[in-house]
Symmetry: C2
């Protein structure tokens, strides 16, 4: 199977979320049987990330979108768990600050894109400006309707600068959302984060569906594809995303840069010398007594 | 044992690094026997980090210093592996950019301190300005000698704002450093990052020792302690740091905030209602067919 191809929103195609199975499981029945495959991707992702860091040519931007409780946080934990955290940044885009709102809608996102060799994950993203802002009529249609094109141009700027842009919509259904809300209610350690607004947002389900479908249709491009990931099963969501990230990184055909020094001469000059010095007791004083 | 107490540089005390065993192993003989204890701390750290995030009162800043190959990167991987990466940022402080050099030495570090509820890890830190800058005489003594006091004032500002500041010096000896350099030479995937300057820096071993000792003595305060961590054994370094971070977080006596809503009324209003709606087929269309 090739989830890259299967879940990618083909540029120019129509999206009907109601026709896409939120509970898709592919070849595995459950988490246990999928685990070896997930771990295999995760090891590859770590190696590829290291290669990307070493090569200093590409960078990777992952945008996560989805309704409340769709699993954005869980996905980030999973994907970052596979990576070296030093080469990654995660930026959450909530309600804009006063300073952010005083700029164009892409300003705060542009500041957070990954530097060369690095990975950035957006927990929500510039797409919020064609989702929540549209659904709640925070800006008029003539403003949000122009944003799709701005987004495509912005993402082209990034990909032309060798940033790989992957966008995931985590696809759950209303029953799954409600059941996840319920789990929070049933767990005292999560009571502090329950708010009635989650439930109010859920009542805009259809409006959000329309807004998501528009964003997916208008902004899944050859350079920056959208993927609709069946996400009722958390393990399948992780499997599919790890699979797609692996494939995408592999397609970059990266290679380690050549060493900047002559390794053999370094080896002779320092590692021979220092063994001799050590024998003569010339190394500095604070040596360990116990053998390693 | 209490590594918090054992490895802390007592404010006002003298530090002689040559007297501190770089190969200390405590109660365990090897990684295997230490692993259950390390994992226990790591689980606690994750819970405490979550509590800190929920409570939104404290934050945590971890500064890592040490010579080349002392294990700063490995420590970050380990500590972050125990945490939720979304609540953490890692900032590396290498040679200052032109913009950074045009400001006071604390400017770039202040920008990177953790926000409330979050964790920040500094890979090298503001201490570079009393280490490399002093050893290589990049600024005159009258400049660097004033910096210790600025550092103490800066860290007091942070701790007064409920940031927990923990500073770790990773203590290895020259043989261990050379052996780690050698491992890089012997691994083709790491050739690209070998530079002769690592070896040149090593020849300033004693000058760095003096500079580290001064920093540890002058800047280990009651509010922001320094710890000297025996780091020849990577597993012991991880054990000791996880132990100290756990203890320090526990001492904050954090608690979950009270819920902002009445949980029972939410339960009745939405979870009862929605079950009824579901029975009447009122929930939106795209429901999953397969049971979860």
């Amino acid at each position: 199977m090739n989830y890259f191809k299967q879940f990618r929103v083909k540029p120019g195609s129509r999206v009907q979320l109601s026709k896409i199975d939120t509970s898709f499981k592919g070849e595995h029945e459950n988490h246990k049987s999928a685990l070896p495959e997930i771990q295999q991707y995760d090891r590859k992702i770590r190696d590829l990330q290291y290669l990307m860091y070493a090569e200093q040519k590409h960078s990777l931007l992952i945008c996560l979108q989805g309704r409340d409780a769709a699993g954005k946080d869980g996905t980030i934990n999973h994907v970052l768990g596979a990576m070296n955290p030093q080469g990654c940044t995660v930026t959450g885009f909530k309600q804009p600050s006063a300073e952010e709102a005083d700029h164009d809608f892409l300003w705060r996102c542009h500041k957070a894109v990954p530097r060369r060799g690095h990975v950035a994950i957006f927990n929500r993203s510039h797409y919020e400006d064609v989702l929540v802002q549209r659904v709640h009529k925070m800006v008029p249609r003539k403003v949000w309707s122009k944003r799709y094109e701005h987004i495509n141009h912005f993402e082209k700027l990034l990909t032309d600068n060798d940033t790989l842009v992957l966008k995931f919509y985590l696809h759950i259904d209303p029953e799954e959302q409600l059941s996840r809300f319920k789990q929070r209610i049933d767990d005292p350690a999560r009571h502090w984060k329950i708010s009635e607004s989650d439930y109010r947002e859920a009542s805009y389900w259809d409006e959000y569906t329309a807004a998501f479908e528009d964003a997916l249709e208008k902004c899944s491009t050859d350079h920056a594809p959208w993927f609709v990931i069946p996400a009722n099963h958390k393990w399948f969501r992780n499997l599919a995303i790890s699979h797609i990230v692996t494939r995408a990184l592999e397609s970059l055909n990266m290679a380690f840069p050549a060493p900047t020094v002559d390794i053999e001469s370094i080896r002779k000059k320092y590692h021979a010398l220092n063994r001799a010095e050590a024998r003569e007791g010339k190394v500095p004083k604070n040596k360990s007594k116990s053998p390693k």
